[in-house]
């Protein structure tokens, strides 16, 4: 660029220097604008269809509008309440107004559902009172308590006051198997009621196991593919990619046919007398089924990055190591393996991130013990309609994966640059 200006004179005067810098910036700016135009359509598409919905979904994990919006009078009245004794008559009046209004507008159900996440029986307390609120005359306090004795319990009022803020941490607290006591203390749920942490932990260790299995199965295959002549390697590559071209459901279903109690594998084992007909192996609708099926489904995601990295390692490195006196094992361990590390880490991170968010396969073949956190998120999205909790679980998963990726790029990313020429 600007070769004639620079080469004509060895030394530039400050003025020329300045002009050159300005010229360069101008030409670069034009380039940058051009680049922006090239990516603009995709950028807009992603912003509209992906980033915005995801952001709004994630916002739901802290969004808490129900009480504030649909019980505005009660929220205002409770703002100054000290929480030591039952609220005064004015607060009860506000409650009755809100409940009657809410029932008329069909919004009170949302408040009831929301509050029920925090404390069971809140739903029936709200709904039961709301049904009669329209007919009440002042003074309200005793009448309301007569309808539902729960209104004499300070703890219920505390929950309403706590959730009358527009943002809440309660979905995250629930996602970590914790609860907020009426006194505002956050503590772990009783052992029996804990669900999500165990499931998150299971998701992580099973994903690690699946990643390890794909690595153990994929590494030798990739090595073979990378060392074979092009023609044969391409043919074998089709076999690796074949599962890609088959529907995920078909692949999962065929594993059901293979692995189930009356399935092919059990039949063969029984036929050979290796397994008793009464004690057929249970290889599906449990964690084993999830691991086997997902290992198969995710295997290509391990093989492809491994293969592409191994393809770039010239065979002369191994030969050089052998000629220098290294046994085949030492040559592999000290020369080949370190150079395939970028492929191993790329494949591992890819498989692990895919596995940790999987939910179709665990849903179909996982039974009880093979469910992933993704299944829980789907459940809250589709069945319980507790989107806030689903969003909170999603955020936790996302943060975990991003943290992992940060570690990866920090340690392996730098290493990559050093080991690649």
């Amino acid at each position: 660029m600007m070769a004639n200006t620079v080469e004509a004179e060895g030394q530039l005067t400050p003025e020329e220097q300045k002009r050159l810098t300005a010229d360069m910036h101008r030409s670069l700016r034009r380039k940058k604008i051009g680049a922006l135009f090239l990516v603009a359509p995709l950028l807009i598409f992603i912003m509209v269809t992906f980033v915005a919905p995801i952001a709004s979904m994630l916002y739901r994990s802290i969004d808490n509008p129900q009480v504030l919006e649909y019980m505005p009078n009660t929220s205002a009245a409770l703002a100054d309440w000290d929480g030591n004794e039952l609220p005064d008559e004015a607060t009860f009046a506000a409650l009755v107004t809100d409940l009657a209004e809410g029932r008329k507008n069909y919004t009170i159900g949302k408040v009831a559902t929301r509050l029920n996440y925090e404390k069971s029986q809140m739903r029936s307390l709200i709904m039961g009172t709301a049904r009669k609120a329209g007919k009440l005359k002042p003074p309200y306090k005793d009448q309301v308590i007569k309808i539902k004795a729960g209104w004499s319990d300070i703890d219920n009022w505390k929950v309403i006051k706590r959730e009358s803020k527009s943002l809440t941490a309660s979905y995250y607290i629930a996602a970590f198997d914790m609860e907020t006591t009426p006194d505002g203390e956050i503590k772990m749920l009783p052992e029996k009621e804990r669900v999500y942490l165990a499931m998150l932990w299971r998701t992580i260790w099973m994903s690690v196991l699946i990643t390890l299995l794909t690595l153990i199965l994929g590494y030798p295959v990739s090595y073979l593919l990378a060392s074979l002549p092009m023609g044969i390697a391409n043919t074998l590559m089709i076999l690796v990619l074949l599962p890609f071209w088959t529907s995920l459901l078909v692949r999962t279903s065929s594993w059901i046919a293979l692995l189930q109690g009356q399935g092919v594998i059990n039949d063969v084992l029984v036929w050979f007398g290796l397994v008793n007909d009464e004690s057929r192996l249970s290889m599906i609708y449990n964690a084993t089924g999830t691991v086997i099926t997902m290992t198969h489904i995710l295997l290509p995601f391990m093989i492809l990055p491994l293969y592409s990295v191994m393809k770039t390692v010239p065979p002369s490195y191994m030969r050089a190591a052998r000629s220098l006196g290294a046994t085949p094992f030492t040559a592999f361990y000290r020369v080949y393996l370190p150079q395939s590390v970028p492929g191993v880490s790329a494949g591992a991170i890819l498989v692990f991130i895919l596995a940790i968010g999987y939910y179709i396969t665990p849903a179909l073949v996982g039974g009880q013990s093979g469910q992933f956190i993704g299944n829980m998120i789907a459940y809250h999205m589709q069945k319980s309609l507790n989107w806030g909790l689903a969003a909170a679980l999603g955020v936790i998963l996302l943060v975990f994966v991003m943290g992992l990726y940060a570690l990866y790029s920090r340690f392996v990313g730098n290493n990559n640059q050093m080991s690649l020429r």
């Binding site: 010239p314 002369s316 490195y317 030969r319 050089a320 190591a321 052998r322 000629s323 220098l324 006196g325 290294a326 046994t327 085949p328 030492t330 040559a331 000290r334 020369v335 370190p338 150079q339 050093m418 080991s419 690649l420 020429r421």
Partner: protein, 366 residues
């Protein structure tokens, strides 16, 4: 006699054949004896079997027939890492994830040497190739020539008695290549190791070698010291492959005491040395080096004298290359020293040319 030869040979190929597909022989019946300390070059066009022969010696390919001996031991079934042969590869094959010093230490570490011993030897090897301060760099941070020197140092650091080099200078530019040729030659002279060197570059082979084996079609065409190979090629392939060569083809008329007469297709008769002809009446190709042809030969200097028409004169500073039409051959090249005598060489002009029958060799038809 044959017995003593086999005792002297440090490396010996004995009737070695190699085929990759079971149909075509890439190496056909290879026999060479390489004495200790020799610099032997395997020279040939690509696909001639020279690299395959080297790989068989290194242990990366197995001979389909015949035996390879190293220091009197058959090594066909010895794994590469147990042969103790240093090797320099075409693209150096320096391990990119190790520093220069780690690369050099590698062959010593796998031999389980002590740490301080390794350090001494690595430093000595680095000094030998004048890269003493480069130990901590990675190969990618070095220039091509420096990488080349590290590769040589790594092949030498464990003090093998035999070094194999597979076109090690192929990736360097011309100047650097010439400089490295001398460096490798000097290292060889200083250490006295045996070197088997593979190249397709004939000037490289002529510069460095004690002996050159010219390969073609899986067969050694000629195995001789550089000067003999250039001046006394024994067949048309070698004459054509090494250096510049004028070819004249004709039929053998008579032969007596190693001197023969060849009649060219245009009718002229040439006297030449009978080196490799098939018999009276058979085709033969004459080989004649351009610098052995004289313009306006003095009486008695040449026993072959013809007329030639100048087609083209190429000025090359110290000499001129004159392309002439001689006996119907339009690409007959004569090298003329750039002296004042022949300033008058004009394109289109005619000149008498001549050569001695001792410089003209009758070979097999090409």
């Amino acid at each position: 006699m044959e017995n003593s030869a086999s005792n002297e040979a440090f490396v010996r190929f004995d009737g070695v054949q190699k085929s990759y597909d079971g149909k075509i022989l890439v190496v056909k019946d290879l026999n060479i004896d390489i004495p200790r300390g020799e610099f032997l070059t395997m020279l040939g066009p690509s696909g001639s079997g020279k690299t395959t022969s080297l790989m068989m010696l290194a242990g990366f390919e197995t001979a389909t027939h015949g035996d390879i001996y190293l220091d009197g031991q058959a090594i066909n079934n010895v794994a590469p890492h147990k042969r103790g042969i240093g090797m320099v590869f075409q693209n150096y094959a320096l391990f990119p994830h190790m520093t220069v010093a780690e690369n050099l230490a590698f062959p010593l570490q796998v031999r389980k040497m002590g740490k301080s011993d390794i350090e001494t030897r690595v430093n000595r090897a680095l000094d030998m190739v004048e890269l003493g301060s480069f130990g901590d760099r990675r190969p990618a941070q070095l220039s091509g020539g420096q990488q080349q020197r590290v590769a040589v140092a790594r092949a030498l650091v464990f003090e093998p008695e035999l070094i194999l080099m597979d076109e090690p200078l192929g990736a360097l530019d011309k100047n650097l290549r010439e400089q490295m040729q001398y460096e490798i030659k000097h290292i060889h002279e200083r250490l006295g190791v045996t070197v088997v060197y593979v190249t397709h570059d004939q000037s490289e082979a002529l510069t460095m070698s004690n002996r050159i084996a010219v390969f073609n079609d899986g067969v050694i065409q000629q195995l001789a010291p550089p000067s003999e190979l250039y001046e006394k090629p024994i067949n048309s392939f070698v004459a054509q492959f090494i250096g510049e060569n004028n070819k004249l083809s004709g039929t053998l008329q008579s032969t007596q005491d190693g001197v023969c007469k060849i009649r060219l297709s245009t009718g002229e008769e040439v006297t030449a040395l009978d080196i490799n002809t098939d018999g009276i009446g058979k085709e033969s190709t004459l080989s004649l080096r351009p610098e052995r042809v004289f313009l306006d030969p003095v009486e008695g200097q040449c026993d072959n004298i013809f007329k030639g028409k100048v087609e083209e004169v190429i000025y090359l500073g110290d000499h001129k290359r004159v392309r002439m039409n001689v006996c119907g051959h339009k690409d007959f090249i004569v090298k003329v020293a750039n002296s004042t005598d022949n300033k008058g060489l004009q394109v289109g002009g005619t000149s008498a040319i001549g050569w001695s029958s001792k410089d003209c060799r009758a070979l097999n038809p090409a």
